[in-house]
Symmetry: C2
Subunit: 131 residues, 2 copies
């Protein structure tokens, strides 16, 4: 039921967003899809087993918005600055993501919103929502 | 506590997004802010009294993601097509929004995500999240 295939019926077919990628990320136990919207992307996330945070999110809250991601030029430097400014970080150092180094900020520090930062020097910022 | 001023400490100051607009929308009993992210925008929504859906959302669920908005070229035509395709619409016809005709789609039909459509011929698509 919580499948990318099913949800593409809304995002790709009904809302006519442009499906760019569907791929497995075995290291994260998820399958993801990206749909382009201007310079941003909608990310659909489908857990491939029950071990992930996304699987627990779906079990507890059901489908819906999961996180938003912003590109930053220098992630390690940004994390250090955010910690000094009192933002609670989930990852104190960049870790390997599917598309580059990433880190998450805790929703407690971001008004209820789970924020991901990805290092992408000079690239446009983009946003994601998950299943 | 649920104020745009407070949350700008995260979105504008810590995450360095570009604050474009803060304005009252008396007809909707809300105050909103837009922050630019590439071709998209982050919208912060602060209810000015307890009468709105956003105020009830905050009381029930707390701060967090509220909705996502996509631009479409012809909103009336899009709504008609979506209804035929079985998407449950909250607004069966376009209604006046702060920046043009808008309509909402029910989260039940959109995998838990409240979707807003705004008529903006030829413009870039953008996304919003609310408080």
């Amino acid at each position: 039921m919580h499948s990318i295939e099913t949800s593409l019926g809304v995002w790709r077919d009904a809302l006519a967003l442009d499906l760019e990628t569907v791929m497995d990320i075995p290291s994260d136990h998820v399958r993801i899809a990206f749909l382009g919207v201007g310079e941003s992307k909608i990310e659909l996330v489908e857990p491939t087993d029950d071990s992930t945070g996304v699987a627990r999110f779906l079990a507890n809250k059901g489908e819906g918005f999961h996180h938003i991601c912003f590109e930053v030029a220098n992630l390690a430097e940004t994390l250090l600055r955010l910690e000094i400014e009192g933002i609670e970080v989930i990852d104190t150092a960049p870790r390997k993501g599917a598309e580059g180094p990433v880190a998450f900020l805790h929703p407690r520090s971001c008004h209820g919103v789970l924020v991901e930062l990805i290092e992408a020097p000079g690239g446009p910022a983009w946003a994601a929502l998950g299943y």
